[in-house]
């Protein structure tokens, strides 16, 4: 069931009404049943996978808590293997097999392992990572094992964030399922506003930008460098509006029901450095990798390195280099079983590593040239340069394979000024540009606290706010594109 469907609106209204009417002790059951129904509306049979990982992690959590020492560790390992095993099988089996075939062909062998026709369960990477964070936190002693299986299953399957996050932590969510939530009209209104902004980003901006992006990226040989530049910029906004729109709707839904989900995006395209961008984009995933991979990895490497320099690199920087390389290749693979995602991750990792390694040099340069005193110009140029840098890996993210991505990239650099494809309809392309400018305008107002961001206070008068809501509603009504799925569902 898609958020951007009438079925979901009816479903959500019925669930919300029933949720606040029935006694508290039945609410977990209502939400769990609703979540199962929501997930089964995509491919019913895959509920079995969710059930399987929920059972494994539920018992793993209890055993981890009860045991100590090596046994405790083994239960954690078993739980992680179960989760990663499911992920590996459904998401990476054919990818690994394909690469094995290529390798074996290189030495004149035929790969005997068959390919499988598997449909990837929707949102598998999201709920698997959320489930893993539970057992890790129980292992670390930051979270008590949940004894109520229904509540635990709800933690994994809560419908607003089930298929595309935010990837939540048990410390933030589990206690909320035990609490009693009363209907609050203020919260209801705030949630609706959040959902409205999410719907606008998804059905008005993201889906409209796809009208330009899809034909260009699906038929690259027919297009020129300047067309690829525009299509890539459009794609950068398309994926942002698509994914952050989903997050806003999810956060809004949960807020209405009384649950507080974490913020997943914080105006990423207003970041003035790549590092800042990744602190604002898909926060729940980047913080997941930071907490569960980056920190443990840097600590374990630093224990093993005793020298001040490794390979002529300062040891702290060497550790950062290794940890970031691992993290970003994993982040790429998390997104999908394709080399395009690996390269996408590698480029982003490279940016961050390059940023750290050249930090002192850049500081010196800005001081010598006096650029550091021009704060506003510095900030604006930082935003523009960051955006352009981020657009390059988006090419790999969107292209169907690595060859196509290289082709597009080469066209961009060899013929940046060439005949521009104006889209199947020039009017729709013009409208897309206006909508992107509108989005940027709103985000600037959000950054200056004029417009609410993640339930913050707004400085606008009520009449202006109402005008804004009516504008969004009317725009959705006229320009809303219906029925298209969210890009991140495939992950």
């Amino acid at each position: 069931m898609l958020f951007n469907s009438y079925q979901f609106i009816v479903f959500f209204l019925v669930i919300t009404f029933t949720y606040f009417v029935i006694p508290n002790r039945f609410r977990w059951f209502l939400l769990l049943t609703a979540s199962c129904y929501f997930y089964m509306a995509f491919v019913p049979v895959y509920i079995v996978i969710l059930g399987f990982t929920s059972i494994v992690d539920y018992f793993a959590g209890i055993f981890i808590e009860k045991t100590q020492g090596k046994k405790k560790k083994w239960f954690l390992v078993a739980s992680l293997c179960g989760n990663i095993g499911v992920l590996a099988f459904f998401k990476y089996y054919n990818f690994l097999n394909e690469n094995l075939t290529v390798l074996l062909q290189g030495i004149n062998f035929q790969n005997p392992i068959p390919y499988l026709s598997i449909i990837l369960p929707i949102g598998l990477s999201f709920h698997t990572f959320q489930a893993m964070s539970y057992t890790i936190e129980v292992y670390r002693g930051n979270q008590k094992a949940e004894r109520h299986f229904g509540i635990y299953a709800l933690y994994v399957m809560f419908f607003p964030q089930l298929v595309a996050g935010p990837i939540e932590r048990p410390q933030n969510m589990l206690h909320q399922y035990h609490e009693r939530h009363y209907f609050d009209i203020d919260r209801f209104t705030e949630g609706l506003k959040m959902m409205l902004w999410g719907f606008f980003k998804k059905v008005v901006i993201a889906d409209r930008l796809a009208f330009y992006v899809d034909p260009v990226y699906n038929n690259p040989t027919a297009h020129s460098g300047s067309t690829f530049i525009l299509a890539t910029i459009f794609f950068a906004f398309q994926i942002y509006c698509d994914f952050s729109g989903y997050s806003d709707i999810a956060i809004g839904c949960a807020h209405i029901l009384g649950f507080k989900l974490m913020q997943n995006f914080r105006l990423p395209y207003l970041a003035d450095s790549v590092r800042s961008f990744w602190q604002r984009w898909h926060i729940s995933l980047t913080s997941w990798f930071r907490d569960y991979v980056f920190f443990p990895l840097t600590i374990s490497i630093s224990w093993k390195i005793t020298k001040k320099k490794v390979l002529f690199i300062r040891s702290d920087r060497f550790i950062y280099l290794i940890a970031m390389s691992v993290i970003w290749i994993l982040t790429g693979i998390w997104h999908g079983a394709n080399w395009t995602f690996v390269i996408w991750g590698a480029i982003n990792g490279f940016y961050l590593i390059f940023g750290v390694f050249t930090k002192d040099l850049r500081k010196k340069f800005t001081k010598i040239t006096g650029i550091d005193k021009l704060k506003r110009i510095n900030n604006i140029s930082g935003i523009i340069i960051t955006f352009l840098l981020i657009c390059i890996p988006w090419i790999f993210f969107r292209a169907k394979d690595v060859d196509t991505a290289w082709y597009i990239l080469s066209r961009i650099f060899t013929q940046p000024v060439s005949k521009l494809f104006l889209g199947a309809s020039q009017w729709i392309t013009l409208l897309s540009i206006l909508l992107v400018l509108f989005l940027i305008g709103v985000e600037i107002l959000q950054s200056r606290k004029w417009v609410s961001l993640y339930f913050s206070e707004t400085r606008l008068r009520q009449s202006l706010r109402w005008a804004g809501y009516i504008f969004l509603l009317i725009t959705i009504s006229i320009l809303g594109v219906g029925g298209s799925s969210f890009i991140y569902f495939q992950f």
Binding site: K419, L431, I470, I474, G480
Partner: protein
């Protein structure tokens, strides 16, 4: 009163006021858009000449130029993606609105106009802006899928419009009918696409043929001359499947021969290889638009005199 209940009631009143303002603005905007569209399609006045079709007519024929040359009102009722069934609805809609004013109808045809594919199966949605008209209401109600879509459009009036309607409406209010698809087709890239088999295959859909026959029947019963105009499509495309293409042209010729007041004008023979007239493989640029409109006016005058 319980402060909680009081708060809820205050909010309820606010929500009702908000809803009322929303519906009022929704109504005003939809009326504005609707009046613009009516002007854009020329449904606001009786016309002697009616240009019916889809994007080929939209970009291929200049209504203002025809008005100047033929000294009469011209309505261009052409929508992107309007298939044969939609065009029948459009003709009926126009005749219902403007009675017996129409003396000449041009109807764009091409080798794929009976194929069905390529033209949107959801093109009935183009008629939502006119659903206050009883005939159109019945048409969209019968086509609407899912059925509740019809009721949503009925109550939230701006949802009847799309971005393309918005464009048409603004153009209608500004009386701006010019083709602005500037530029010419990249024939090298297009030949490559043809080589890769990337083009719409010509087939003949039985239902569309029946709808087309019904259209011709309807016109033949009235004192109206109808011109089936093949606004040129590029020769590279026409030669991609020559047998099917010839079959399609033959079929259109046969239709025109069946009725005395139906004429077929094929501009492909003369213009299909003048690549500078084409914006893309099936649509004309402003130069193509002027060339074909001039030629059409000339041909209509010649045939009718």
């Amino acid at each position: 009163m319980d402060p909680k209940l009081r708060k809820i009631l205050t909010f309820a009143v606010r929500y009702i006021i908000f809803l009322f303002i929303f519906l009022l603005i929704d109504f005003c905007i939809s009326e504005f858009l609707s009046s613009g569209l009516i002007k854009y399609y020329g449904l606001d006045k009786p016309s002697k000449v009616l240009l019916i079709g889809h994007s080929h007519t939209m970009l291929g024929l200049d209504k203002t130029l025809i008005e100047e040359e033929m000294h009469c009102n011209v309505s261009k009722y052409a929508m992107e993606g309007a298939n044969v069934a939609d065009r029948l609805a459009m003709i009926k809609h126009f005749l219902h609105q403007n009675g017996d004013s129409v003396k000449i109808i041009t109807y764009d045809v091409d080798a794929t106009f009976l194929t069905g594919m390529g033209l949107s199966i959801n093109s009935y949605k183009l008629f939502y802006p006119f659903m206050d008209d009883p005939y159109i209401r019945e048409y969209v109600k019968s086509e609407a899928k899912p059925e509740y879509d019809y009721y949503i459009k009925k109550w939230i009036r701006t949802s009847r419009f799309t971005d393309l309607n918005l464009n048409g409406s603004l153009r209608g209010h500004m009386r701006f009918y010019t083709n602005i698809k500037i530029g010419s087709i990249d024939t090298v890239a297009y030949k490559q696409r043809i080589a890769e088999n990337d083009f719409v295959k010509i087939t003949f859909d039985r239902n569309l043929q029946e709808e087309f026959e019904e259209t011709l029947q309807l016109i033949s019963e009235r004192n109206v001359k109808m011109f089936l105009v093949l606004i040129p499509t590029i020769g590279i495309l026409n030669r991609a499947d020559p047998e099917k293409y010839s079959e399609a042209i033959k079929m259109i010729e046969n239709y025109s021969k069946k009725y005395p007041n139906i004429y077929f004008i094929n501009y492909n023979d003369e213009f299909e290889d003048q690549y500078d007239l084409f914006y893309d493989e099936i649509h004309l640029n402003p130069k193509g638009n002027k060339t074909i409109t001039d030629k059409l006016v000339e041909d209509i005058k010649r045939i009718l005199l």
